[in-house]
């Protein structure tokens, strides 16, 4: 199936490219090479209920190095643009034993006409959702709330988008090996007078999801919300008698998940952000008590940030206006499981590199770590932008 997907993208690209080269005016390409290396020190809590005496055999020191080669190739002819986008990830890490993986984060061909019609085939990140930390509408890809800027892996999709002045219509097909595992999605977006709104419908295998997203932008603040009603879950649960329930093994009951938040500029330096998430398919206080009693055997359910139905996020950022640095204190609190996480985080950015320092302090009885600290260095190699690979005048 992977080969089929790869071949599909390349065949689509070459077919479009050859067709359009008959009328070709120019092709251009750009590439970028990003090297990221992350060193982590984890202070493991020996008294953790989830991981007593480190039964999970976690390392105190972890190291990950990732190389992202990114290529973009564009061909423009008579208002028709074809684009090939490749983003690979070569990853070396030593969590259990040292290993190196290679995979494509993105590999897609996009064909657009008059900036109005877009056809896409290939592996591409799904850009749904208005939430800064959590995106309930983005049913396949969930970003890491502790590092929302991570480069995420795309999904194999066939997509058609039709853009109008204030409206956009999107149709998606997510092919799978078996016909019954394929997913379909429709999305409608609307933008006017500082308001953006969107509605989505997903047919995910044999399940359904109905979603909305909304955002408002003012002079000093922004506000947003997104949510879904869905009849599937990817979460383990604990039932009323304390038994562990696997995802989607119960009846197709519709459940709600939503997020709402905003950002306010306090002055030139300080910005306050906050977000709230509600997940009906997570644990209530009674189920948390069952869960705690069954640890460590129920550790599969563990989420370091929040296992309860309600989670709050708050962040205060200080930005050095003329420099390229910022310091941030992020806090996550789950009042159901009483999980509290405080994370000071700083970033220094220069023309070709970025350094991120972060510490995570956990303050709850079943945390795995007392704290975690990490340094992430990203190096951006010199790039090539918009180099012309050929220029053929029409019918020359």
């Amino acid at each position: 199936m992977k080969n089929f997907k790869l071949h599909s993208v390349l065949i689509f690209w070459f077919a479009l490219n050859n067709l359009s080269s008959l009328f070709s005016q120019s092709s251009k390409f750009s590439y970028q090479l990003i090297l990221e290396t992350k060193e982590e020190y984890n202070a493991i809590d020996p008294n953790s209920l989830v991981n007593p005496d480190n039964i999970l055999e976690l390392n105190e020191i972890n190291s990950t190095t990732q190389l992202y080669p990114i290529f973009t190739l564009n061909n423009l002819s008579n208002g028709i643009n074809t684009q090939l986008q490749i983003e690979a990830d070569i990853r070396n890490y030593d969590f259990e034993k040292e290993r190196t993986d290679f995979f494509f984060q993105e590999l897609y061909t996009q064909f657009s006409s008059k900036d109005k019609h877009y056809w896409t085939i290939g592996k591409k990140r799904l850009d749904w959702g208005s939430g800064m930390i959590w995106n309930p509408t983005n049913f396949f890809i969930q970003k890491d709330p502790l590092r929302t800027q991570n480069r995420l892996e795309g999904l194999f999709m066939i997509n058609y988008t039709y853009l109008l002045k204030n409206h956009a219509f999107h149709f998606y097909l997510f092919p799978e090996e078996k016909k019954e595992d394929c997913s379909l999605a429709l999305k409608y977006d609307f933008s006017k007078n500082r308001i953006d709104a969107g509605f989505s419908l997903v047919e995910y295998k044999k399940y359904q999801q109905f979603g909305y997203e909304f955002s408002y932008g003012g002079d000093q603040f922004t506000a947003y919300s997104e949510g879904v009603v869905k009849n599937y879950t990817k979460s383990y649960q604990v039932n009323e008698t304390g038994e562990l329930i696997e995802p989607n093994s119960s009846k197709k009951k519709f459940r709600v998940e939503l997020a709402a938040g905003g950002m306010i500029l306090l002055n030139d330096h300080f910005t306050f952000s906050c977000e709230y998430r509600f997940r009906e398919d997570y644990l209530n206080s009674k189920e948390i008590a069952f869960y705690k009693a069954q640890l460590p055997s129920y550790s599969v359910l563990f989420d370091p940030i929040s296992m309860g139905q309600h989670t709050f996020f708050g962040s205060m950022e200080y930005k050095d206006i003329y420099g390229r640095g910022s310091v941030n204190v992020r806090t996550f609190y789950d009042p159901v499981s009483r999980q509290l996480l405080i994370s000071p985080w700083g970033i220094i950015s220069r023309n070709n590199f970025q350094i991120e320092l972060s510490v995570l302090f956990y303050n709850h009885s079943f945390a795995i770590y007392d704290f975690q600290s990490s340094i992430l260095i990203s190096y951006f190699f010199k790039t090539k932008s918009d180099g012309y690979i050929h220029k053929i005048e029409k019918y020359q």
Binding site: Q32, Q110, K114, D115, K116, Y118, K124, R125, D127, G129, S130, M132, T148, Q149, N150, R151, L152, T161, L163, L164, K165, N166, A168, H170, D189, S191, N193, R194, I195, D196, S215, Y216, G217, G218, D219, Q220, T222, M263, I264, L265, D268, T271, D320, I321, Y322, G323, R324, S349, R350, N351, N352, F353, Q354, S378, F380, F381, K382, T383, S385, D386
Partner: protein
């Protein structure tokens, strides 16, 4: 009584001229271009703190910028459709909505300074006075409180029909920012300043310089290019 009548009589040709010429429209037109490359340099104590290079696109009140340098910012995009402002982050392929009064990429300009430049829609002329043979000073007042600066003083070159200097004041009549327009070039038979320096008067010893190259008065991007949907593509 007579001197006043004489003074008004002497002034009347100029006042009539000021009413006849739509300076706000001229101002908007003089800084309007639909395509350009911009290099922005941010200085503090005469030292370059950072720079950005962007491709700039505009269609009436809508603007879009695509960052090409430095390498850490390559691929970042910004869009203003005059009512909302978004930033596209290539790492995550996501967009985030931005407040208009936030500093533009850590410079002396706010997002609205650079992404919402329409005098005719936001201001009215309350006074005009001749400074030199080819210079006049216009005093503009904001039409409503939603506009970032309550009062703007503009020195306008009547010969080349371009602004020379622009001072922006707060509601309490405090000078907030000064903009200096420089290096006037001719594009498609019209003059346009190709350099803009912004001084934030509330910050000491800082300035932001924007240099425009490859300026095109008329671009080829359709309305759909300036939409949120297109920004993600």
């Amino acid at each position: 009584m007579k001197p006043i009548v004489l003074f008004l009589f002497m002034l009347s040709p100029f006042l009539n001229h000021y009413k006849e010429v739509d300076y706000l429209e001229l101002l908007d037109k003089s800084i309007y271009c639909e395509q350009a490359n911009i290099r922005m340099e941010v200085y503090k104590d005469n030292k370059e703190m950072k720079f950005y290079e962007m491709e700039f696109y505009r269609l009436n009140e809508k603007m879009r910028m695509e960052f090409t340098a430095p390498a850490t910012e390559k691929g970042r995009r910004m869009l203003n459709d005059h009512s909302s402002l978004w930033m596209y982050l290539p790492r995550t392929s996501k967009v985030m909505k931005l407040p208009f009064k936030q500093s533009f990429m850590g410079s002396d300009a706010s997002n609205s300074d650079l992404m919402r430049m329409t005098f005719k829609k936001d201001y009215e002329i309350t006074n005009a006075s001749k400074k030199e043979s080819n210079r006049i000073e216009l005093e503009l007042k904001a039409k409503d409180r939603e506009v970032s600066y309550n009062k703007v003083l503009i020195t306008f070159d009547t010969e080349k029909k371009v602004p020379v200097k622009q001072e922006m004041y707060s509601l309490s009549n405090k000078l907030i920012k000064t903009l200096l327009y420089d290096k006037v070039v001719s594009v498609d038979g019209e003059y346009i300043p190709s350099e803009l320096t912004i001084h934030d008067e509330l910050q000491s010893n800082s300035s932001t310089k924007l240099s425009y190259t490859n300026i095109k008065k008329k671009g080829n991007k359709p309305t759909e290019f300036f939409t949120l949907g297109s920004l993600k593509k």
